[in-house]
């Protein structure tokens, strides 16, 4: 069994190594078997693991990594419902996206390189979720960051893309520093990195103790970096520079949710730190609101999806901040399905339009590429939360939990839901409805559906996005909560220790909430339809978006100038300081002192050598003075 489990991450690694070493020699058709194949096998293995999983989490040692004295960091894997769930999502969705990429990247000369990176990413992601201690988790944590860097900058001819990649890595690293310090504090407090030991010890500690608050905050910094929350979210939109499958896999389905996973994993610690939970809640609120607001005004199809991802992640963090871990994980899963679907759909559109990403130049594609359209529509409905699609259930659960703990938060969450619905429908109307606005290139006539290699994955994901929700139908609707039961043992302690007050909500109220939210969502959808239902090429001001009108719109369209702000506050000053340090401190101060001592001695030498004037008389005189001084000091004194 353990061998099978270790194979799960190792197979993608093997794929990476093979493809990496033979990135020139291996022909495409073989690469396109190795790449997805390795993932498929590890998916099957994960399924096997799931099937013979007996509801008792078990950890085992792969090998000893860093160990000396009393410190021992070993490469341990932990298999419990949570990690199994993540493994399934990663390998499953990963495999589908791999398959899709075979079609999508078919014409790219970096084909093998692409799959090598993708496999490497899967490897690290699996390490991240399968780790049994924070140190090993950190391996994955950094590794996925690296892969996202490599994949965002995949087309490295273009320095813009490289900048985006660099930005992503750096911002991730800022988070990672927090994570590291968190780990150190953990080690200092609990003398271990192992989840089990840590949580057992933590349970005994009093809630709100300083150490735990600090730990959770530092870890949360890491999560903020990884999961693109305020203030470290600006890398994610830029990350859309990478190939679309990358955006789907890394920047929607898996990597960006690592933060959520990590917080859920350390749930025990977090419930013991109410302050952290509050901070997390506020951050998440702000993030999802901001991101949703920006998304409404974006005209790049992928950017819209990117911002929607950010806000959905905020959603998950809100759930975490009220201690609704299952809900968060549930939404994580469904989000993985429908956001991957949406990205791949967008990808197929871009593919068809030969790289066009501006939705203002699209339109009327629903006839040209029906499969893409229908799947995309399903995705939209799902994310908008239309029953009975997956999004509805997951969102509803989060909303229910939030409502039971604090109404104001609930109101904001609802607002975000409305915005989500609005921008998603705006997107779909811009893209697929109305009439084609891409004047000339490419000709509407030769726009056609993507190959089966790409559409089949779309359909599979569409099915998942549709049916994924049934895993966890609330009792309210008399459903069975498979996922909740499945995850229950993991979160048992966390839920027990949860500090946030949960007032029971009467059923009628819950039904009312659901109905209300649904109504509002439909309202927004309708409003979107009224505005952008059928866009013609001529009516410019509607096309150019609402941005043109209100000042708020302007701000939002320019992402509230956050990038510019960061540039002015951090980037430019650092460069200036760097130059200044070198010029003034290094060269003109420190080094000048060093050289100065040298020149000083030489000057001194040049002075005193004139004592040696060459006149015998002078010499005698000096000597006499010397003699007199010596006699004076030794005899008179």
């Amino acid at each position: 069994m353990t061998i099978l489990i270790t194979l799960i991450p190792l197979l993608p690694l093997l794929g990476f190594i093979i493809l990496g070493l033979g990135y020139r020699s291996i022909p495409k058709h073989i690469a396109s078997i190795i790449g997805p194949g390795s993932i498929l096998i590890s998916f099957i293995l994960s399924v096997i693991v799931l099937l013979n999983f007996r509801f008792s989490p078990f950890a085992f040692r792969f090998f000893d990594w860093i160990s000396f004295g009393n410190l021992s960091i070993s490469f341990d894997f932990l298999i419990d419902p949570l990690s199994i769930l993540m493994m399934l999502i990663i390998t499953g969705v990963g495999f589908i996206i791999h398959v899709y990429s075979v079609g999508y990247m078919s014409h790219d000369e970096g084909f093998n390189r692409f799959f090598a990176y993708m496999n490497l990413f899967i490897f690290f992601m699996l390490i991240l979720v399968m780790a049994a201690n924070y140190a090993v988790m950190f391996i994955g944590w950094e590794g996925v960051g690296l892969c996202s860097y490599l994949l965002i900058g995949f087309w490295f001819k273009n320095q813009q893309f490289n900048n985006a990649a660099k930005k992503a890595f750096i911002m991730n690293r800022i988070g990672d520093l927090g994570f590291l310090l968190g780990m150190f504090l953990i080690y200092k407090t609990f003398r271990s990195f192992n989840y089990v030991t840590i949580f057992d010890l933590a349970k005994t500690m009093s809630p709100g103790s300083g150490a735990i608050t600090a730990i959770t905050l530092l870890l949360f910094v890491g999560a903020v970096g990884k999961s693109a929350q305020i203030p470290l979210y600006t890398w994610l939109p830029d990350a859309m520079a990478g190939p679309t499958p990358v955006s789907a896999l890394i920047h929607a389905a898996t990597m960006v949710t690592a933060g959520v996973y990590m917080v859920a994993r350390s749930g025990v610690l977090y419930v013991l730190a109410p302050e952290t939970m509050e901070i997390m809640g506020i951050t998440a609120m702000a993030t999802m609101l901001l991101a949703a607001a920006i998304a409404v005004f974006q005209n790049d199809i992928k950017k819209v999806l990117a911002y929607s991802t950010i806000s959905q992640l905020g959603y998950m963090f809100v759930a975490l901040s009220v201690g609704a871990f299952t809900a968060a994980m549930f939404h994580l899963m469904t989000h993985a399905f429908f956001k991957a679907l949406l990205f791949l759909g967008a990808g197929s559109v871009i593919h068809a339009l030969e790289g066009e990403q501006d939705i203002r130049k699209m339109g009327g594609l629903k006839n040209a590429m029906p499969k893409t359209f229908w799947t995309f529509l399903i995705g939209t409905l799902a994310i908008a939360g239309i029953p009975p699609l997956s999004g509805f259930f997951s969102k509803d659960e989060i909303l229910a939990n939030v409502f039971s703990s604090s109404q104001p938060m609930w109101i904001i969450a609802v607002a975000v839901t409305m915005l989500t619905a609005f921008y998603m429908f705006r997107l779909i109307f811009f893209t697929f409805f109305g009439s084609y606005r891409g004047n000339g290139h490419p000709q509407f006539s030769n726009i056609h559906e993507s190959p089966a290699m790409m559409t089949i994955p779309l359909m599979i994901l569409a099915f998942l996005a549709f049916a994924g929700g049934f895993l966890n139908i609330p009792e309210l609707m008399g459903g069975s909560r498979v996922l909740k039961e499945f995850l229950a043992p993991v979160f048992a302690d966390a839920v027990k220790l949860n500090q946030i007050p949960h007032m029971p909500v009467p059923e009628r109220r819950e039904w009312f909430n659901i109905a209300l939210v649904l109504f509002l969502v439909l309202l927004m959808a309708f409003r979107a339809f009224r505005k952008f239902g059928d866009l013609k090429p001529d009516d410019g001001n509607r096309i150019s978006g609402i941005g043109a009108r209100s000042i708020f719109g302007k701000l939002a369209e320019n992402k509230f100038y956050v990038d510019e702000l960061y540039d002015a506050v951090f980037v430019k000053p650092v460069l200036k300081v760097s130059g200044a340090l070198h010029e003034f401190i290094e060269v003109k101060f420190i080094d000048r002192i060093v050289n100065g001592t040298g020149t000083l001695v030489v000057r001194f030498s040049n002075i005193i050598r004139y004592l040696q004037a060459g006149h015998v008389g002078a010499y005698m005189f000096f000597m006499i003075i010397g003699i007199l001084l010596i006699l004076f000091f030794n005899i008179i004194l």
Binding site: V602, S605, N606, V616, M623, G626, I627, I630, N634
Partner: protein
């Protein structure tokens, strides 16, 4: 004793050969004679006796140092033939005078009585006055000898006055007698007359060792004197004067400290600073070596200040290491002057390209003088520093290491010129014997660095 007699005889023989115009026999005879007298000197090893009522005291210190003196002279004579290649006349006079000077030096390392000290010093000095001026045509040589003579006799006047005062107060010239006098009077403080005498004597010796502020003669005289004899001055004279000072202190102030140490310490400090710092600005190797020799006398004073049982040995090792390196440097200097007219650092450019051995030896000599391990110079410095630190003269040691740090600035000039600057052309014409000699010296330098125990445990 043997050495004194044998050397005097040798000198006379040399003169006879000169009369007989046997030019070719001269140097072989001298070298053999020197080796012979070296042997004779070593025969005295471990026979501690005093001759003529303590006029001469034959002890291991004396034996060791006089052997060193004879050996250095031997090394210098190795290069004599080369140096006087162009001269036709026999040169017996110069060689003879050198040997007589050596006799004086040996006397200084054996003396047990101030009379002997005086005679030794004067024999040495008067001989050197002549040698310094031996290059009669060269005005520089004339100037050198004049300066040396005037300053020398002037200072030996003070030396004599000192001796007289010591005699007046202690009633004897015998070191042991003076020692007993000191022992008696040290409690109620030595009388001013004695102190005056003491310090005048010290000053007289300090002049010979070239300690600031009595060092002024050194650079000028070194520069003006014919190079071979400069080597003689820089090594033999210095060693002899140091050992003379050591003998005086070790016997008259046996087991007594604090009368003269602070004075010497301050002088040493000044010497190290002036020597090293001034050396930094010198344009040519010869003058630079003069200043380096000044600074080295400063270093030697470290051991003198920290007077202990190990001082003699430290001085011995240091003077050997210093002499060997200096002689090497002068040997190369002779070559360069011959080939390129002058010894400005510019004329050393690119020697390493065509004369690898010469460059290598000079480099080793310079590094040894700088005190880079594992060369002899380093071990020498180590013994001095160790002695000084043991006695707690930390500030002096700090000055000393600062000096060594500065000395890198000038000792590396020839190295840089030879290895890293572009070539100037003329190759140095050094015969095979010459190569062998300098390699022999370099080997000694390295060997003493690796196996210091050959010399470190002697006395």
């Amino acid at each position: 004793m043997n050495s004194i007699i044998s050397l005097s005889v040798l000198g006379v023989l040399v003169l006879f050969l000169g009369i007989l115009k046997k030019k070719t026999w001269l140097l072989p005879l001298i070298l053999v004679g020197l080796v012979a007298s070296l042997m004779m000197t070593l025969l005295h090893w471990n026979m501690n006796r005093s001759l003529f009522h303590n006029m001469l005291i034959i002890d291991n210190t004396g034996v060791a140092f006089s052997s060193v003196l004879i050996f250095s002279t031997f090394l210098i004579f190795l290069f004599a033939a080369r140096y006087y290649r162009k001269v036709i006349r026999p040169l017996d006079d110069i060689y003879a005078i050198m040997i007589f000077a050596l006799v004086g030096a040996v006397l200084m390392s054996y003396y047990g009585n101030l009379i002997m000290l005086f005679i030794g010093i004067e024999t040495l000095s008067i001989a050197l006055y002549v040698l310094a001026g031996s290059h009669k045509e060269a005005i520089t040589s004339n100037e050198a000898t004049l300066k040396y003579f005037l300053l020398g006799s002037f200072l030996s006047g003070f030396l004599l006055f000192g001796i007289a005062l010591l005699y007046g107060s202690s009633g004897s010239f015998d070191l042991y007698a003076i020692h007993s006098y000191v022992v008696d009077h040290i409690q109620q403080g030595l009388p001013p007359m004695f102190k005056a005498g003491l310090f005048l004597l010290i000053i007289g010796l300090a002049f010979k060792i070239a300690i600031a502020p009595f060092h002024f003669w050194a650079p000028d005289v070194y520069e003006g004197t014919p190079t071979l004899l400069t080597a003689f001055m820089a090594t033999v004279v210095k060693t002899a004067s140091v050992v003379a000072m050591y003998r005086f202190f070790s016997i008259t102030f046996f087991g007594i400290h604090g009368v003269w140490e602070m004075t010497i310490a301050i002088l040493a400090g000044i010497t190290i600073v002036i020597g090293n710092v001034t050396g930094l600005y010198q344009p040519n190797l010869k003058r630079m070596l003069a200043y380096s020799s000044i600074s080295h006398s400063g270093y030697m004073m470290l051991a003198m200040v920290a007077f202990s049982g190990r001082t003699a040995n430290a001085l011995l090792f240091y003077s050997v290491a210093y002499s060997i390196a200096t002689i090497t440097a002068f040997a190369i200097l002779i070559l360069v002057r011959e080939a390129r007219g002058n010894d400005y650092f510019g004329s050393f450019n690119g020697i390493a390209k065509k004369n690898r051995i010469e460059a290598f030896t000079l480099a080793v000599a310079m590094l040894s003088l700088t005190g880079i391990p594992p060369l002899a110079g380093f071990m020498g410095k180590y013994f001095l520093f160790a002695a000084a630190i043991e006695q707690g003269w930390l500030w002096l040691v700090i000055i000393a290491i600062a000096g060594s740090a500065v000395s890198v600035g000038y000792y590396f000039k020839p190295i840089i010129a030879m290895y890293f600057r572009e070539d100037q052309g003329t190759i140095l014409q050094s015969g095979k014997p010459f190569k062998v000699h300098i390699l022999f010296l370099t080997l000694l330098t390295i060997l003493l660095g690796f196996l210091p125990f050959l010399l470190s445990g002697l006395i």
